[in-house]
């Protein structure tokens, strides 16, 4: 409930909300970890940038959208889909990525730790 004013031990500043185009993504460095942050349907969603199938750090460069009612990111390498809200892979439910909470304060996007 307290507005996060800047990067602190609770959250890391990503960028201005306007910098991310609708349906676009960026990659943020959060406490040494790579996080992919997307703007989709009025939400700001964050998930690991790591693609476990190609083992490359690239998810922020994939295409977002929805499949059967779930908001998803498609890996830019081999096109597996990950649910942006739960991190679960649609093609292989054994694989789950970490999702991150986000917050927008004064037009700035933050990823919470």
């Amino acid at each position: 409930m307290n507005a996060v004013a800047q990067t602190n031990d609770l959250a890391t500043q990503v960028c201005e909300l306007d910098f991310i185009p609708e349906h676009g993504g960026v990659c943020a460095l959060v406490e040494g970890q790579q996080v992919a942050v997307f703007k989709l349907g009025g939400k700001v969603l964050a998930i690991d940038n790591y693609d476990p199938f190609s083992e490359a750090y690239v998810l922020s460069r994939g295409i977002v959208g929805d499949l059967k009612g779930q908001l998803v990111i498609a890996s830019p390498v081999y096109k597996q889909h990950f649910n942006l809200e739960t991190g679960v892979c649609l093609e292989d439910e054994e694989v789950t990525l970490k999702t991150w909470e986000t917050e927008v304060v004064d037009g700035i996007v933050y990823v919470k730790h």
């Binding site: 185009p21 960026v26 490359a56 499949l67």
Partner: protein
Amino acid sequence: MKNAKILEPDAPISANKEKQTVVVIGNGMVGHKFIEQLQEAKAAGQGDYEIITFCEEPLLAYDRVHLSEYFGGKSADDLSLVTPGFYEDNGIKVLLNEKATGIDRDAKTVTGSQGTVVEYDKLVMATGSYPFVPPVPGKERDDVFVYRTIDDLDQMMECSKRGKVGVVVGGGLLGLEAANALKNLGLEAHVVEFAPGLMGVQLDQGGSDMLRTKIEELGVQVHTSKNTQQIVDGDDCTHRMEFADGTSLETDMIVFSAGIRPQDELAREFGLEIGERGGIIIDDNCITSDPNVYAIGECALYDNMIYGLVAPGYAMAQAAVDHITGSLKSTFAGADMSTKLKLLGVDVCSIGDAHCRTEGAQAYTFVDETAQTYKKLVVDADKKRVLGAVLVGDGDAYGNLLQMKLNDMDLPETPEALILPSVDGEAAAGLGVDALPDTAQICSCNNVTKGDLCSAIASGCTDMGQLKDCTKAATACGGCAALTKQVLDNELEKQGIEVDKSICEHFAYTRQELEHIIRVEKIKTFTELMEKHGEGHGCDICKPTVGSILASTWNEYVLKPQHSVLQDTNDRALANMQKNGTYSVVPRVPGGEITPDKLIVLGEVAKKYNLYTKITGGQRIDLFGAQLHELPLIWEELIAAGFETGQAYGKSVRTVKSCVGSTWCRYGVQDSVGMAIFIEERYKGLRSPHKLKFAVSGCTRECAEAQSKDVGVIATENGWNLYVSGNGGMKPRHADLIASDLDDETLIKYIDRYLMFYIRTADRLQRTSVWTENLEGGVDYIREVVCEDSLGIGAELEEQMELIVDTFQCEWKTTVEDPERRKHFQHFVNSKETDSNIKWVDERGQIRPAQKTELEAEV
């Protein structure tokens, strides 16, 4: 049982004259089928029959075809072919565990091993066959088996617990199946074959070689040209097999699978006519030399042939039933011995004249060593009819080819297309199922014709499950499943039942329809299209498709924010993403012509950014290993040196390959380099449903390989010949000549029209080759549209192309000049750091991505 005429020994009772008594010797697959069919006829009022069957085995009929699954955990019950209660409920008497041992054809009685005597009006021999064991000294040793009954399998299973190694003698179809069984039992499996190749009956040498490679890879060792001389005690194992060539092999278990022989002992003994090499001789009604005795299945010899497959056996059973009931609906006229099997998981198919023995026969062979597939198509002298085929590793074409053979159908103009692999999931070129006659047998196991399928579909079977339940098609060997599905889809489509062709869940349209909507309604963004015609947020199928259509139609900068999020992986970074998340850079080199100065720049840039450098197959140079943030820096330098983007990343125009042509070459008749550069400059940047490649050759020697390109141009004394819709890649296609001796202007006009017509009507990710194959009317239609303007849209197509040509921009130039856009070329949006996970190692003096093992070694 009231009516049963099971007689005590020495007390024969005369037959009940109201009913005919039918006695069946052998309750195997075919004997049982016969009884089912006769019972069905009886239920349908075609006579009254008393049915009695001798069953030598302790079990009622079971599915021998799937016998091996017994090792995989199926029980005898699972394999049973008998619906529980079938014999009891219908009053059919089974003499289980009783072998028929005597026949008195005058008294018309059969005697069993337990002393039972039965009278018959009609006798049916369905005694099957037995495995042939060659007379090798030592064959009578313990732990030497054959592979035919559940009992054999029980014994093998027991033996496998005692040993480590198993050998199958015989590399035919059953031998390989037995070898797989040994492997599944945990033994080191070997196959010993007398002949030089596996499955010599069904396969030619090439198919047999490919099969061997595959089987050896699966861990079964194959020994061909081995003649077993004797089996003696082994040193490390139970047996040692000694071969004629002096070699030997030690093993704990031996399974003979060296062929089958008809079980005609009883028939022989009691005077039925037997073929020279065995088998009970039958006629078209399956009647033997005694008019009251029939023979069906593997014990029967028809026209000098033993049919060692279940489908012909079933057809014989039906013919015998039809004769007994007097319906005479069917006779047996021989059967097609084509087979489709999965041996050790490998598709193996053989159709008709696999060995190309027919006079004048010609063959097409396609071998893919990487995918390990072997396909051979044998056609007649006129290339009009299929005579035979061999498929190993990929049996998809089986259904099509078999139907074409069985129905004597005309081959397409390029028969080889029938065995060439398909690209992008498109169906292989083949026959439309629509062309099949209603009488075409689709499922040979259960004798289901196309007509049967169609009427089931018409009466409401609208998915495969229902159709299988209702017709029994595809429920036995499964070989006909693909074709059954094709008939289903085709019928549904004809009935106007919607076969969903939407590109994805967000748009209920095909790519062609979306193209039309965008062009006609002048839609400029994905959002607008979604608002008017779609639903949801979109996905990785519709976004790139729409992105591509917008680009082909309006040609705006693809990285405008609203377009950038639509672009597929490569387009989004204007570079090809590599396996580790870095990119490759491919500047355009029109026609492959490059100055020394430009070469030097490429070298310098590559050196400065430490990029791996390679000459591509498209006559240009690829620089690999650039990180996202380096791309604008690299391009800044390249652009300053006069380079432009090569769009190697896009579904767009790639390269125009050229030969040196008349300027230098002593044979050249036109300036092929000049024309190639002109073409590349004209169409560069054009986005399309799939990539587009061109080539221009300076004379008929064709050094630029133009006939393998989407658009190929070959110089003549009088101008240019235009070829279209060629393809290299996964499924090569020779381009077709659509116009000859064109002047420069007409050549360009035709190419404009051709390309735009393709862009307007193709599916997503469909190369021009597949588009052409699928287009009704094919190349002739294209020729009419392009060269004769039959649709009257020539001018419109040219105009659309003109717009693309006029609005070309180098997307990399636009990008490096736009500071806002450049901000998106950084790994982290909130840090200047780069991706620390990218690691290189040195190979032949250049970098390459480190492999996982190398990374682990480093830690």
